[in-house]
């Protein structure tokens, strides 16, 4: 068998065996008793480089709450359908917040998305 064919065949067999997993990840439960100012707002510090004052979506301390509510980014009746969560799970933003942080945000939305 020619070397190139052997390499490709081996890789294909290897990855067929490695693809035997089929799972839906357990993302854990949403947080409870979440306070926006104490628990949610500090997370947005990593966002303000791009979403700072004067940007099209301001997540600085003074404006973050209004941006989220007026931008219709939170869905109180279906928190997982919130555009904020979809954006955080999207490719461009998925590395910024981890699952635990997203669960805090989900808990906050579930509890009414108050500015508390």
């Amino acid at each position: 068998m020619k070397p190139g064919v052997a390499i490709i065949s081996s890789l294909i067999v290897l990855f067929i065996f490695a693809s035997c997993e089929k799972e839906t990840l357990n993302t854990g439960g949403w947080a409870k008793n979440v306070a926006f100012q104490k628990d949610v707002l500090p997370m947005f510090q990593v966002c303000t480089d791009c979403h700072g004052s004067g940007s099209n979506f301001d997540l600085t301390s003074a404006n973050a709450y209004n941006s989220l509510i007026e931008g219709a980014l939170v869905n109180i009746t279906a928190p997982e359908e919130s555009q904020l969560i979809k954006t955080l799970n999207g490719s461009a933003h998925s590395s910024y917040l981890n699952q635990e942080q997203k669960n805090i945000i989900l808990g906050w939305i579930n509890e009414g998305a108050k500015n508390n």
Binding site: K2, E23, L25, T27, S94
Partner: protein
């Protein structure tokens, strides 16, 4: 003497006729300018024993306006890849992508090649990849249940293409994507179909157009089809593509499963691909 002259005549006049047949039966060249068109693969692969550097860049949304120079100042994605032609028919490549820190190993095998005589009217190639998602463990559900296998995804595609005359090429490519582990609301297996075409307007410049359609949709239908269009300039060693598209991920299976920009809402991004052959 007569035999000698007959042999000489045969060599000079008859043999080239057979030689012409074998030249005509050689594969059609340059069905596309390069091995990549937008985020799609083409049937083109590097020459045997030669390398190809591929840099793909995707800027932010054009709708971000003049403040962000229509997406050029926005968050952007980039993939750098290196391909090697093992033989005339087999390519092996590696790459790294910024979004989700995706590391890919990919391969392309030419199964059929369109011949100049028309005996073989189409080219068919198989493209596959295996990709590791390099994000932190916390992106794969609760850490107590994390396994390395959760990071892996795969893509397999048959690319069927044809060059019509010298200036028009077209391909269609069905695919299957597989993710070992997904978040709730997403699927493990995605089927999709892509199409792309090129029209050469000069010897070195062409217009490219492409469409990708996921046949499998997420629970809330947030994985979108894509429309792409742009120009391409090629030389003997370089190919440069500048285009707009609504796909952002650069890696095929992530495009199919996770791309949420909606072309019907004008959510397009500027992209460019550079291929260097050496």
């Amino acid at each position: 003497m007569k035999n000698f002259i007959s042999c000489l005549c045969f060599i000079l006049f008859i043999a080239p006729v057979f030689s012409q047949d074998s030249i005509v039966d050689k594969p059609v060249k340059n069905i596309f300018e390069t091995g990549i068109i937008f985020d799609q693969q083409t049937v083109v692969a590097p020459m045997p024993k030669s390398f190809e550097l591929v840099i793909a860049h995707r800027f932010g949304q054009i709708s971000n306006g003049i403040d962000e120079i229509f997406g050029i100042y926005s968050t952007s994605n980039i993939r750098m890849g290196l391909n090697f032609g093992i033989t005339e028919r087999i390519m092996l490549g590696i790459g790294t992508t910024r979004y989700k820190k995706l590391q890919d190993l990919n391969w392309k095998v030419a199964i059929l090649r369109q011949s100049r005589s028309g005996k073989m009217p189409i080219s068919i190639s198989y493209f596959g990849n295996a990709v590791i998602d390099g994000q932190e463990k916390s992106n794969f559900g609760i850490e107590e249940e994390y396994k390395f296998m959760h990071r892996l995804s795969y893509f397999h595609q048959l690319i069927i293409s044809r060059k019509f005359r010298e200036r028009v090429s077209f391909q269609v490519a069905p695919s299957v994507s597989y993710f070992n582990a997904v978040l709730p609301g997403y699927e493990n297996i995605y089927y999709a179909v892509s199409a792309a075409g090129r029209i050469k307007i000069t010897e070195s410049m062409g217009i490219n157009i492409g469409y990708d359609h996921p046949l499998t949709t997420n629970e809330d239908g947030n994985n979108m089809p894509s429309l792409s269009g742009g120009i391409e300039i090629g030389t003997s060693t370089h190919a440069f593509q500048l285009y707009i598209t609504n796909y952002e991920n650069l890696i095929n299976q992530h495009d199919v499963a996770y791309s949420s920009y909606d072309m019907s809402k004008g959510e397009f991004l500027v992209g460019m691909n550079i291929t260097v052959r050496f």
